[in-house]
């Protein structure tokens, strides 16, 4: 058997030490009628065979690397510097456990402290935790935290319809209609804009959640927004997607956000068909004890040397049990490490360059597409690297045409936003060369003929 080191002689000797005649005898507490089921699974494969099997499966996918990719909508194709894979693949990081024993976990702990520090700076907030599962669950936990800050006194969670549809779905799973804790509203009218939402903020409102840039890539007008939210005693939660935009744009901390969440995948993690990703979560110091998730803090050892520990743990499930701020235990530590390495590699200057490349290339693509007969760029507000295009045919049909030409087209908005008929959300990143963009434009033109 792979990975089981026991020889026959050792097995016998160990059973003798225990005082049992056979391996079977270890399981007498298991009800006899259900003991030792026959599992109907394929027989064991060797390492060589399983890798071959997986390569066959891989052949049935269309990978982004072999295509010009214009699909974003919450998961983004960005360049990953070689150092990220190299460093984050080290066994010392990959095969270690949660750093509950700080003396033997300073590597993970310091890296997480650095991750938290860089997220604080990127978002303009005061504290960040050591990660959530993904952006969507981070947003759901942000709503729960806002309700907890209100100590049960407010039950309305106000939600912009221009938040990623899957994020809104996850929030509704966490807070179903029958929940005693809260009710979720605001996105029933899918065309509602910020002014419509602001009009709905009242003394019942625990928080307003917006995405900026919003799901359509547009920059929301957040001037004075936080003041209006705070005037009613509510919190402002901002989903900062795509996170790369913060290389260029004003961070939510600067315009008064109380909680910032985001999908951290673009920071050094590949698309991975949707996971593992990284839930970024940051807030203000005054709310830190209501914050879910693990936190690393700085302290000293008995000899006065600087060191790092998991701290403020009484908020967490292993101590607080049913009264914990969240049930989260295992998080996305290794992906947070990737983000830390990525952010340090790009650094003060590089992240801005990545963001600007995305911005300029997306705007070039939008200008070119806007000139095509039959296509209209329907985004009117300033945008970052995603924009809406109304197409002369159903988007699914157009995407099939593009796929045949080696292009992964944009996201079909009609499914989530029925009023956006035949509209496609196109995403451009630094990975898209001018040649690819021109190729897309030519293909769209050809498709419309």
């Amino acid at each position: 058997m792979p990975y089981i080191p026991h020889t026959d002689a050792e097995r016998r000797a160990m059973l003798e030490t225990i005082g049992l005649p056979s391996l079977e005898a270890l399981f007498e507490d298991v009800p006899a009628q259900w003991r030792f089921p026959r599992l109907n699974l394929p027989p064991a494969a060797s390492e060589m065979e399983i890798l071959d099997e997986l390569k066959v499966l891989a052949g049935k996918n269309r990978a982004v690397g072999q295509h010009a990719t214009f699909l974003g909508a919450g998961a983004y194709h960005h360049f990953i510097p070689s150092v990220v894979d190299h460093l984050a693949s080290r066994g010392e990081f990959v095969t270690s456990y949660t750093p509950y024993q700080p003396e033997v976990s300073q590597g993970t702990l310091q890296a997480m402290f650095e991750y938290q520090s860089m997220i604080v700076r990127l978002t303009g907030m005061e504290v960040a935790n050591a990660s959530h599962y993904d952006g969507a669950t981070a947003m759901a936990e942000a709503a729960l935290m806002a309700l907890s800050v209100a100590r049960g006194g407010r039950k309305k969670v106000l939600l912009s319809p221009a938040i990623h549809p899957q994020y809104r779905q996850v929030l509704r799973t966490y807070l179903p209609p029958e929940s005693d804790l809260a009710y979720v509203t605001g996105d029933e009218d899918l065309t509602a804009g910020l002014p419509d939402l602001i009009a709905q903020i009242d003394q019942e409102t625990a928080c307003l959640i917006i995405q900026n840039p919003n799901f359509f890539g547009e920059l929301e007008d957040v001037n004075g927004l936080a003041e209006q939210v705070h005037a009613q005693g509510a919190l402002l939660v901002v989903v900062s997607n795509p996170i790369i935009s913060l290389g260029l744009l004003k961070p939510p901390g600067e315009y008064g956000a109380d909680i910032v969440v985001a999908e951290g995948q673009p920071l050094g993690t590949s698309l991975n068909c949707g996971g593992p990703y990284l839930g970024i979560f940051a807030t203000r110091e005054e709310y830190v004890r209501r914050m879910p998730g693990r936190l690393v803090g700085e302290t000293t050892d008995r000899k006065g040397r600087r060191g790092y520990v998991l701290t403020l743990t009484p908020r967490e499930q292993h101590i607080r049990r049913e009264k914990a701020t969240s049930n989260i235990c295992t998080n996305q530590s290794l992906i947070a490490l990737r983000a830390a390495i990525y952010l340090a590699y790009m650094g003060k200057q590089g992240l801005r360059v990545v963001a600007e490349l995305c911005y300029h290339k997306a705007h070039y693509a939008a200008r070119e597409i806007a000139q095509l007969p039959g296509f209209t760029v329907t985004t009117t507000r300033p945008f970052f690297n995603e924009f809406r295009v109304r197409c002369p045919m159903p988007v699914s049909q157009l995407n099939q045409f593009l796929l045949d030409k080696g292009i992964l087209g944009g996201y079909d908005l009609e499914g989530d936003y029925p009023h956006l008929q035949r509209e496609m959300l196109i995403c451009v990143t630094e990975m898209n060369t001018r040649e690819q963009i021109d190729q897309l434009v030519a293909a769209l033109q050809e498709a419309s003929r």
Binding site: R35, L39, N61, V170, L181, L248, L249, M346
Partner: protein, 475 residues
């Protein structure tokens, strides 16, 4: 020789990145929307590489030594898993690609769903949850939705044994259920009399970890399931300890209605210093319509995403921690049915062998044949040495401490799980270290109180960290 922070290594103007130059005409940046400062570190690539390499060297890990953490199943993380999870055609795919461009990934997810169903005896599996606790939340939300769909709105009580993981009550509270704690009996089982008394028409279900956190198989598991079902409740299984049951018993056969799998425990995906894990949920026939979606279904030769009719909804964006699916699938395929049974047999053999070696020095909490783990009292009577001191002293002997002070029902608990991938020689060496520490506790207790002595830092001041939290670099 502590490692400076990245910010302290930073030199203004230094860079590491290379990026292509702009190949399209520039567009004016949107005025009024721009940030003025981005205070990230400024280091060279070599500084970066040395920094994180040095940090890695401050970590203990499975690749270097034994990690007997109870309830965590720190088994070897096979390297082929990592190679598999790096196959470009499997990983360089966007989750929102059209289904026809995603058939390979969908097929892989389908095969893993089917394998998990077969291993645990369930009718349906959703791979969505990102971790064990996330699977629990999905599970209790399904239990709630099930009762509501039958008009039984009053079923709001969830029974949880006192030996349970903290995530069980925390997940239940998030799902709006009221937690009622059940005591354990002297043999470490659920107290049946207390269970019967708690069972009425307000019970939504019972969350049971089996084997439980004492490492013991629930001797009355069938009766517990029957009792809960008889009052209209459902059985939740915490799959954290499934490593003991592979090919030994299927939770679905025993009467569980829903269980989460921990792919990062049972199926060898690495723990990554705290995550990512993966916590798929398996369910019996009656809960299948409530599974979080989408799941993958097979239609002819084609694989398709499908949301079950009464689904509780999504529990995260996209499909789950897919990278872990590739690893777990690889692991299952490399074992086959006989191999999986051998995993459980040897995990249990190792635990019982180690228990026999350790118990003369540290008494076992409940003396029975254990499953994959066991719990001892870690204090030394007649001295002021506590479990924490023993745990920290183990580090000086080159071993990671066992889980300590859990389960809460055992005084000074040390919870030891060796897993099947450790050799007899490693177990012998670990037991010898514990014996030596028990001796030191009586001859030189200060040695234990001050431990560890060999690590980059000694015991850290957690009180200071919590009283005046420093949670980010403020320089």
């Amino acid at each position: 020789m502590s490692e400076p922070l990245l910010f302290e290594l930073s030199t203004p103007g230094r860079t590491a990145f290379t990026l292509p130059s702009l190949d399209v005409p520039a567009t004016p940046l949107p005025e009024g929307y721009l940030r003025t400062d981005l205070p990230l570190p400024e280091v060279s690539e070599l500084e970066l590489v040395r920094h994180f390499t040095r940090l890695s060297q401050l970590n203990y890990c499975i690749d270097t030594n034994f990690y007997p953490l109870g309830s965590c199943t720190m088994k070897y993380n096979p390297k082929v898993n990592e190679k598999a999870a790096a196959i470009e055609g499997l990983t360089q795919v966007h989750p929102l690609q059209p289904e026809e461009a995603l058939q390979g990934s969908l097929e892989l997810m389908y095969r893993l769903q089917e394998a998990l169903k077969e291993i645990a005896g369930f009718a349906g599996v959703s791979l969505q949850p990102a971790a064990g606790a996330h699977g629990e939340l999905a599970g209790v939300l399904m239990i709630r939705a099930y009762h509501r769909s039958r008009g039984e709105h009053q079923r709001r009580k969830i029974l949880i044994p006192d030996s349970a993981h903290g995530t069980n009550p925390a997940s239940s509270a998030m799902a709006g259920l009221t937690v009622v704690q059940l005591p354990s009996d002297k043999r470490g089982n659920v107290d049946l009399a207390a269970l019967k008394q708690a069972c009425d028409d307000t019970v939504a279900g019972l969350m049971l970890t089996n084997p439980n956190t004492l490492g013991l198989f629930e001797e009355h598991v069938l009766e517990v399931c029957e009792t809960v079902h008889a009052c209209g409740g459902l059985m939740y299984g915490d799959g954290a300890n499934l490593n003991a049951l592979l090919g030994i018993a299927r939770p679905g056969d025993l009467g569980f209605d829903v269980m989460h799998f921990n792919l990062h425990k049972t199926f060898s995906t690495p723990h990554g210093g705290g995550g990512p894990g993966s916590g798929p949920v398996g369910v019996s026939e009656r809960l299948a319509p409530f599974l979080p979606g989408p799941i993958v279904v097979k239609e002819g030769e084609r694989f398709r995403l499908h949301v079950p009719e009464k689904s509780i909804g999504r529990v995260r964006a996209f499909f789950g921690n897919y990278g872990m699916f590739i690893r777990a699938y690889t692991y299952i395929r490399m074992h086959g049915p006989e191999g999986l049974r051998a995993v459980a047999e040897h995990a249990v053999l190792n635990a019982n062998y180690l228990k026999a070696l350790v118990s003369p020095h540290f008494p076992v909490a409940v003396e029975r044949t254990c499953m994959h783990e066991f719990v001892v009292h870690g204090d030394i009577p007649g001295t002021d040495v506590r479990a924490l001191d023993v745990a920290k002293r183990l580090i000086d002997y080159g071993f990671h401490p066992p889980t300590n002070y859990f389960p809460l029902i055992v005084r000074d608990a040390l919870m030891i799980e060796p897993t099947e991938t450790e050799s007899r020689q490693t177990l012998d060496a670990f037991a010898q270290a514990l014996a030596a520490i028990a001796h030191e506790a009586r001859t030189d207790p200060a040695l234990l109180h001050e431990a560890p002595h060999t690590t980059p830092v000694s015991r850290l001041d957690e009180v200071k960290a919590a009283r005046t939290p420093v949670l980010c670099y403020k320089g």
